[in-house]
Subunit: 413 residues, 2 copies
């Protein structure tokens, strides 16, 4: 099947119609870089979301979860970097509420029409005067091509902004899906979708399509395991992970729901945008020099395949071996072996790209230099078959370099 969408050149979260955004400096980052992003829809927007499963969910996550439970449309999202507003107690929740109120008042919106996100250091209170000044600056800077600036303003240790937009046809009209995201450490999002039962990654998908709330949430839920919930940089699941999708209906199509003839095309485009942004997040992970797609198959079921893939992807010995382009496959089997999943040691097979590495649980006999060659790349695929069943899962991960240690030993000081 050919994809039924096109990638928009230099697209971002305000590429869809009826969206404006801004990214400004409000003084939260010592570096003096942009640290406040505002995203505004000209029309009320249907929202779908997933948030961190961390027991210390940050104040803005708690605020958004409560607000979205009401199921009403929203108009804007205000995001600060440089301070996570997590583990900040009752005052943190008050600050989150006040942050939303500030945006609503400044933009002339009703209470409950602004969602908020924060990312940065845990345990520190938001400097509210700076936020206030920043919201006014952001309002003044709002622009139809402001998506790129907003993506810069949500960055923390990211080295580059991550933007994307695609275009597709729904009911004969052009519809766009845009998005932005940030990583780059504390990245192992395992988000629970809202409205089913329930990273600091932040991701925002915008669209001008008319979408029913249930179908938008369905698109988001189905995209999760093929995007943000399949990545891990360092195995640390943040208190602030947030993935929001907002549909403002500016395209005027007949409402997209599960029975709409273009539902599958929209869903495929949605998953593509989420997946591509998630991939970009790993490629720009802290200190990352190699991107690895790890496919685990032959597990008892998909859940065990995932457990095994996470064990390998988060193994320090595996990640440091990748950094050194060391084909040391024993570390991969070892991590599978302690993951606690069912496997058949005598049937295990491992491949680095097209190079067979392990057959029947033993070295395939391919010369070591050739094994090493297969992983001396910026991006490569590893496939592990456990020989124990039909379960499979794909995870996107990376190596562990000196720079990861440097960034995180020095982050605070």
């Amino acid at each position: 099947m050919n994809p039924s969408f096109l990638v928009v050149a230099d697209g971002h979260c305000t590429s869809p119609a009826g969206w404006r955004a801004a990214g400004v400096v409000c003084g939260l980052k010592r570096s003096g870089a942009e640290d406040l992003a505002l995203l505004l829809s000209d029309h009320p927007a249907v929202a779908a979301a997933a948030f961190t499963a961390n027991a210390f969910a940050a104040a803005p996550v708690q605020y958004d979860r409560d607000l979205l439970a009401a199921g009403r449309p929203v108009r804007a999202v205000l995001v600060n970097s440089g301070c996570a507003n997590a583990c900040t107690g009752p005052k943190g929740l008050e600050d989150a509420r006040a942050m939303a109120r500030l945006a609503e008042q400044t933009l002339g919106l009703d209470e409950g029409e602004v969602l908020i996100s924060s990312t940065g250091r845990i345990g520190v209170h938001l400097p509210m005067e700076k936020i206030q000044r920043g919201v006014e600056l952001a309002k003044a800077a709002l622009a139809p091509d402001g998506g790129a600036a907003a993506a810069r303003a949500i960055m923390t240790t990211d080295t580059r902004p991550k933007n994307l937009a695609v275009s597709l046809i729904v009911d004969g009209r052009e519809v766009r899906i845009g998005g932005m995201t940030k990583g780059a450490g504390m990245i192992a999002p395992r988000m629970k979708p809202l409205r089913e039962p329930q990273a600091t990654m932040l991701a925002y998908l915008t669209t001008d399509a008319v979408v029913t709330p249930d179908f938008l949430q369905l698109c988001l839920n189905r995209s999760l395991d093929a995007s943000f919930n399949r990545i891990t940089v360092d195995g640390d699941t943040s208190t602030n992970d947030t993935f929001l999708a907002l549909a403002n209906g500016a395209a005027g199509n007949r409402p997209l729901d599960a029975r709409h003839p273009d539902a599958a095309a929209f869903q495929a485009a949605f998953t593509f945008v989420a997946g591509r942004l998630a991939r970009e997040m790993v490629l720009d992970g802290e200190g990352v020099t190699r991107f690895v797609e790890l496919v685990v198959s032959g597990a008892k079921d998909d859940a065990e395949a995932r457990k095994c893939a996470e064990s390998i992807a988060n193994s320090l010995l595996v990640k440091t071996a990748w950094f050194g382009a060391d084909p040391n496959w024993g570390r991969i089997l070892c991590a599978a072996g302690y993951s606690g999943v069912a496997l058949n040691p005598d049937q295990v097979a491992l491949d680095y790209g097209d190079t067979p590495i392990v057959r029947h649980g033993q070295d395939s006999g391919v010369p070591e230099a050739e094994q090493a060659e297969a992983i001396r790349k910026r991006e490569f695929q590893i496939r592990l078959d456990l020989g124990a069943g039909p379960g499979a899962f794909t995870i996107w991960t990376c190596d562990l370099s000196y720079d990861y240690v440097k960034i995180n030993a020095d982050y605070h000081t």
Copy 2:
């Protein structure tokens, strides 16, 4: 209670009576350092053991498990470093058997009287000629003070040998417990004791006491959670982890069992030796600059406390913060928060040594410089109370430094 034992000056695994050992060069290590250790008892020795729970348990682990299931006394242990003999298929098991046979023939022992261990690279076959030559050299080098040489020969990335011996009185006679161990990476042993239902750490405890097999295994089982199973360097549970205890009865006391009047004293001394060696293993872990005792309390039960402690101790962000002496407590709470255990965010308390860091889930207000001072040490304690129950667990762990990455990115090449 005062400990009822004394530490033997410069003690090691041949400090107890009736034990001899050797450590020799057989050519497995490129460095040319000692790589084959032999430990011999003058008398048949009762054995107790625990082995890795890794699904890819190495050939020597499989061999020892089968042999010990028979419950017969043994005479010797032969250990090589430089090659793990793991993921080596049927030939690996044959080599393991052959390694035991070589030792038995060379030492004039019966079949089934020699236990074997291997540590080093996974997936490589043992060079049996080297082992054969090495066993002969080792036999010739056997000496009553050979424990120190044996401890050097089992090292891989360890920077120093780890030896200990204690002396205590049983039935009015001096009894000794000696031990040696090695780490230093792939260290997160979660060993299952033999003979209950079932790390590359290796540890060998010797004693000249007369001990019943059941009581020796009981001592080993009870020591596990206070020693090797409470440590983690890198979270990677090896295919080769082995903990053996051997009692040769040279001291001639009445057999120690659970009802013996000195049972408690013996058990305390046993746990002390195992605990001290485990602690030394973390202190000598790959690239380690700080040792952390992490005490988690207030969990629903001990199992949840352990799960939470492991989540924190294996968090890259926590470990790199420790390396940088960064008091960033948010990373610790974050790792507790994603561990999946029950906790009460508003009641969580955290202390670095005697310095209160978090109270009621928020910053205690102690100035940051003072927070940092509390962890700018070679060794410190961290206490986290989850406010959710009576469960507790203590884990010993360490920071993550540039050197860890260097050692493991370069290990192979």
